[in-house]
Amino acid sequence: MDTNLTRNFLALLARLVSGASVRWIDSQPDTCQRVYFANHTSHLDAIVIWSSLPHDVRLITRPVAAKDYWSKGPIRRYLANKLFHAILIDREEIKVHQSPVDLMIREIGHTYSLIVFPEGGRSDGRDVGEFKSGLFYLCKKRPDLELIPVYLDNMNRILPRGEVLPVPMLSCLTFGPPLWLEAGEPKADFLARAREAVRRLKEVSSE
């Protein structure tokens, strides 16, 4: 099957199931190297963000996903490896010389953008959880990367934790203004600032 055709079909399907309305607030879609970081409430999150990007941006954007989930079974493996070109992170065995951050930096080179969920796991959707430190170390090594906060609204109602069948409600995706790691910014400050950027989009999107 034509991979490109399948990808476009999948993107369309994701848009239909999630009924996502997409808003860009103080930022624009761009093919420069970026890290999209978002709140995480559903398995559909990564594909919904991926599918709501314009076609040329979508081609160079790779989601970061958990290896234990996405390498289980031939369908998930096909989706993760062939269609999304996902970067799979081994959550169980984090080695020192093979850290997830190094893997990401190696994989994106100077072309690809990333979709990450810095909360580390799916939350219940009420509030954005504390961010894990991976985002900080990634930016420390590549301070040129543009960070785009993304807020996903209502995804936890479409496919909550522990459910297999989606309910096709409407969701809302808000892309916010870019931010960067400031020179010498402490880890805690930076992570709090990044988390606040996502939470601010939540307030804007519920207005």
């Binding site: 009924g19 209502n154 309910v167 096709p168 409600m169 409407l170």
Partner: protein, 372 residues
């Protein structure tokens, strides 16, 4: 479905095309002249409204011409999207997830399928009986009892308004109308004859009662009026849209008496009464497009007034839901129109009442059996 055997539909479509054309020309002229003194916000609203009517009209006309099945599929999709908007705005709990799955994927298609089969008795009770029992039982099965009745009611109201009520509009296509030879306004000489027939039919229905009404009065060789059903649906949608527009226009006059200021400050008594009266007038002028014209010309005026009042009730109810949720619109489907549900709220309330009034009329006059 042969719609061309009925010239009334073509007249109606032609009339609407003409109206839309005039509206489009007015919009273009006013846009060229900013000095005309008309409020630009009102002008912009009007422009978007006209654009919305054009979209609605083209989609409907295409579906009607492609036949009953396509029309039903179109309305199923509209129901589905409206239900999406409704449930999205209504807080549910994780325990409702599986119930909602069936509410989305089982009941709407099944309901429309029974309409397609023309099983009146089944589609009439599928949602108000079976779905309404399924929802609370299925939520109870999930084991979450918090705000139980509230959650049940929300899902039930969503199904009722977005699927059941809306589907009554395309269900007009399942009615058995008077045969073509009795109603077609073909020649002018038919006029006095029709006038004579009125008392006869009325007495027959009165004397015979339900027993006589149940009998088939028409000889089997007469042509069924298939195009008339499409015309009836088109007439209904046209009257709803006109009633929305006319009520809005009437509520613009000064000395406003707002009906429910806490719910919708734009709905006034002037708008309701003036709108209803003018819609009744339009309905009377369009008597030839309805199946009632063979008997009582004023029936179509009364039906139009009923549609106007129910349309008003629909948009007031939906305003109340939106007020409670603290939003202005149900969604962002079409630019300047809010969500789909914001556009069809009056259809949802007017359709079941219009459907049943029309059906009662047909049953009373012996064109349809009372059941089945």
């Amino acid at each position: 479905m042969n719609v061309v055997n009925n010239p009334r539909l073509l007249y109606l479509i032609g009339g609407v095309l003409l109206l839309l054309g005039v509206a489009e020309v007015i919009v273009r002229i006013l846009k060229r002249r900013p000095e005309s003194g008309i409020d630009t916000a009102i002008l912009e609203t009007f422009r978007l409204r006209v654009r919305g009517w054009e979209i609605l009209f083209s989609v409907l006309a295409a579906a009607f011409l492609l036949g009953q099945t396509v029309t039903l599929i179109l309305f199923l999709l509209i129901s589905f999207w409206a239900l999406r908007e409704f449930i999205t705005l209504t807080p549910t709990r994780p325990g409702d997830h599986r119930t909602l799955f069936w509410v989305f994927f089982l009941f709407p298609p099944l309901h429309y399928f029974f309409i397609w089969l023309e099983w009146y008795g089944t589609f009439f009770i599928l949602i108000p009986v079976y779905a309404f029992l399924f929802v609370p039982a299925s939520i109870a099965l999930a084991g979450d009892y918090k705000r139980f009745l509230e959650r049940t009611a929300k899902i039930q109201v969503g199904l009722l308004i977005c699927v059941y009520c809306l589907s009554c509009a395309p269900a007009l296509l399942t009615l058995k109308l008077p045969p073509l030879s009795e109603t077609a306004p073909s020649t002018a000489s038919a006029e006095p004859e029709r006038g004579l027939r009125i008392p006869v039919r009325a007495t027959a229905a009165e004397i015979g009662g339900p027993a006589a009404a149940g009998e088939r009065r028409r000889p089997p060789e007469e042509t069924p009026d298939t195009g008339g059903k499409v015309t009836l649906l088109f007439f209904f949608l046209l009257i709803v849209q006109l009633s929305d527009a006319l009520q809005y226009a009437w509520s613009q006059i000064p000395s406003r008496h707002v009906i429910a200021p806490t719910i919708n400050p734009t709905k006034t008594w002037e708008g309701l009464l003036g709108g209803t009266a003018s819609v009744a007038l339009v309905g009377a002028l369009l008597w030839w497009a309805t199946p009632f014209h063979g008997a009582h010309w004023w029936m179509s005026a009364v039906m139009s007034a009923v549609i106007a009042v129910m349309g008003f009730a629909g948009s007031l109810t939906m305003s109340a839901i939106k007020r409670d949720r603290g939003v202005k619109d149900f969604g962002t489907l079409v630019e300047g129109h809010g969500g789909l549900l914001d556009r069809i709220d009056s259809i949802c309330f007017a359709a079941p009442v219009f459907f049943h009034c029309t059906r009662w009329w047909l049953v009373l006059h012996g064109y349809m059996p009372p059941f089945g």
